[in-house]
Subunit: 394 residues, 2 copies
């Protein structure tokens, strides 16, 4: 039966799991006795092991970035616009790895996992994870895959922050960092929005201090509210105006507190769907990782000194209408890299869609990004292992 | 005993109550059998009754705009910076009236009031009120006070919207409208924030569909969350950065979900205090009145045609860092007034404090505003009634 998928799709992909049995100590001081990371790979690792690209996900992302899990799937991975044969991140050239981060809710060890010490789900006792912890765990995954140096590490938003941290903590282990819609640290306003989102979850009577699994419930109302709020910050004012304006759902005003405007309907729907599919404890962890991200704190709060640690080349991209991490926040990164005499390319992409742009099909963005990726040089050997063979070899 | 208050204070003031016993039909089609408005006055109404200024409050405001309720009070009314002898709204020249709007929770008829038809608090059954309804009720108050034409109607944010509606609905009854930090209607983003705030209240298990009074409880968590969110939109990103930055409350990271950053501590405190002093049903009503405000909807959605109804002079003021109602939203008002060949003065005030600026002591703002107020001509008769005598006369 011929595939139903477009020719530039990576097709059907199978998640893989890496088990790490050594204790893993986190930045907060706590230790996980063991952990698992679920990941996917697209394309083929070359013999020189020089063509590997790591995709780091943002707040609500996961390991399924491209392709389909089944022939019957209608929806591809979350970054399928950018990953595939001939696409921005060209799987004919690159061996692409995307994992679900530690603390996640899509298969990697997280709050829903069983704590081997108690045989109960971690729940509210899952330790705080930071961007540094993620990078350390990703480095273990790279070791496992035999990747000593990434051709590139790519991410948007919280994903981009992981790329920055990699460049600082493991400067010899990546050749390029693609930093999209990011900031060198959160502003007070960013933290404030995260705090309201967390509060919404924590105040939900179904939260039970994070131990809702054993109560056979989940804080759906709180998580839904958190997502609604997040969603507002992902879209630009202009994009919301364009998409919804003041359009009424039922064509006329009903004078009550039920849904009146299309934008209310949209947000409620987004919150509802998200609260069914995501884990509230993971949401808390991800927002806290965002709050804590501040690599310059380790270098006297001097971002130039911080960026002086790095050795890779940088592509920094921002979007004109992004008000969550505005172009000015990218300028801070670019300016520090320039002051530290690093190689950096920067573009501020004209896009009406706000922070969300990094996930969307914005042609100029993807073209510019592709031109950069295509120019990355790769030592030219014959392939050693396909991704499937590689899976079996683990 | 000499007064403890500054010489430019209006001193001790006493709220007054106006009872309206005629049925009052609202825009939603429902009728209140009777209602009360609580208000304060500062200064003296002149014989020509030509020096009256109406102050309209915003979302969380009330009738106590200036002065003190008791000699022992340490905190004056909410707009004491602008109202008093020699101040921006000079009570040596003007007779200033400020009321608590219908649906409020500070003494005017609202959700906490007893519904005469059921002898129970209205609670969740209190009808939706709109800016038009407020203006109509304020016009009844003006009749009661013998004020056929206001020298000026002044307000910021939702207060300014009432001034705009007055100018459209009662063009002969005001000579000046001072429209501060406003918009001609809410954007999708504005509505979205309101919806999240409402949802937070409605999802609180202590909300009981608005009938929490009879359950001897109140949805404090939800109202607190709504206020925290509102507060973020009142402050600018820059102001929050300046005020809190990423400062930690306890000097070091604790790696948990309790308060870590000063900005979290501040927001939680603001939410806590507000949830003790404000009524959640009123919060819902006020946000809905904001959502529904769209005077141009009555004039083919043509703001120029809408503004063509007005006869008064306008002073429009915005603040550079206000992102709730940005200067561009004021431009829409100004442009429509200019196109309709109306008299309008406009200034965009350089202030780092965002939307909140309209309540603050921003010198250039208050100077410019005062210059406009001082230039308002008043027919020069001897005073007929002091505000105290006026109270007794009602």
């Amino acid at each position: 039966m011929p595939s139903q998928f477009p020719p530039d799709s990576v097709g059907v992909v199978h998640p893989q799991v890496a088990h790490f049995t050594e204790p893993f100590t986190l930045q907060c001081g706590k230790t996980l006795p063991s952990f698992e990371l679920v990941y996917e790979t697209y394309g083929t690792l070359n013999t020189a092991r020089s063509n590997a690209v790591l995709i780091c996900h943002a707040l609500s992302g996961h390991h399924h970035a491209a392709g389909y899990h089944r022939e019957s799937d209608t929806k591809p991975g979350w970054w399928d616009t950018a990953i595939g044969p001939g696409k921005t991140i060209d799987t004919q050239r690159f061996f692409v790895v995307c994992l679900n981060n530690l603390g996640g809710c899509h298969g990697s060890t997280g709050p829903r996992s069983i704590n081997p010490e108690t045989q109960e789900p971690y729940g509210g006792s899952f330790p705080i994870v930071t961007v540094k912890d993620w990078v350390n765990s990703q480095a273990l995954l790279a070791d496992r895959l035999g990747i000593s140096c990434w051709a590139a590490i790519v991410g948007g938003s919280l994903g981009a922050m992981q790329g920055i941290q990699w460049a600082i903590d493991y400067p010899a282990r990546l050749r390029n960092a693609i930093v999209i819609a990011a900031a060198p640290k959160l502003s007070a306003q960013n933290i404030a929005f995260n705090e309201v989102a967390r509060k919404a979850i924590q105040q939900d009577p179904d939260f039970h201090n994070g131990n809702y699994y054993s109560h056979n419930t989940k804080p759906r109302n709180g998580l839904s509210l958190a997502r609604m709020l997040g969603h507002i910050t992902y879209l630009s004012d202009a994009a919301m105006r364009e998409k919804f304006g003041r359009e009424l759902r039922d064509g006329q005003i009903k004078f009550d507190f039920n849904v009146e405007f299309q934008v209310e309907s949209y947000l409620n729907y987004q919150g509802e769907v998200f609260s069914q599919n995501f884990d509230a404890n993971t949401y808390l962890l991800m927002t806290r990782a965002l709050d804590y991200f501040d690599p310059a704190a380790d270098f006297d709060h001097d971002l130039v000194k911080t960026m002086a640690q790095t050795q890779c080349k940088f592509l920094v991209l921002s979007f004109t209408t992004d008000w969550r991490f505005s172009p000015e926040r990218s300028h801070e990164i670019v300016n520090a890299l320039l002051a530290a005499r690093k190689s950096v390319s920067y573009a501020d992409i004209n896009s009406p869609q706000g922070h969300d742009s990094f996930l969307l099909n914005v042609p100029r963005y993807l073209q510019l990004f592709k031109a950069y990726m295509d120019a990355i040089e790769i030592a030219n050997h014959a392939p050693l292992l396909s991704s499937q063979e590689n899976e079996n070899a683990l």
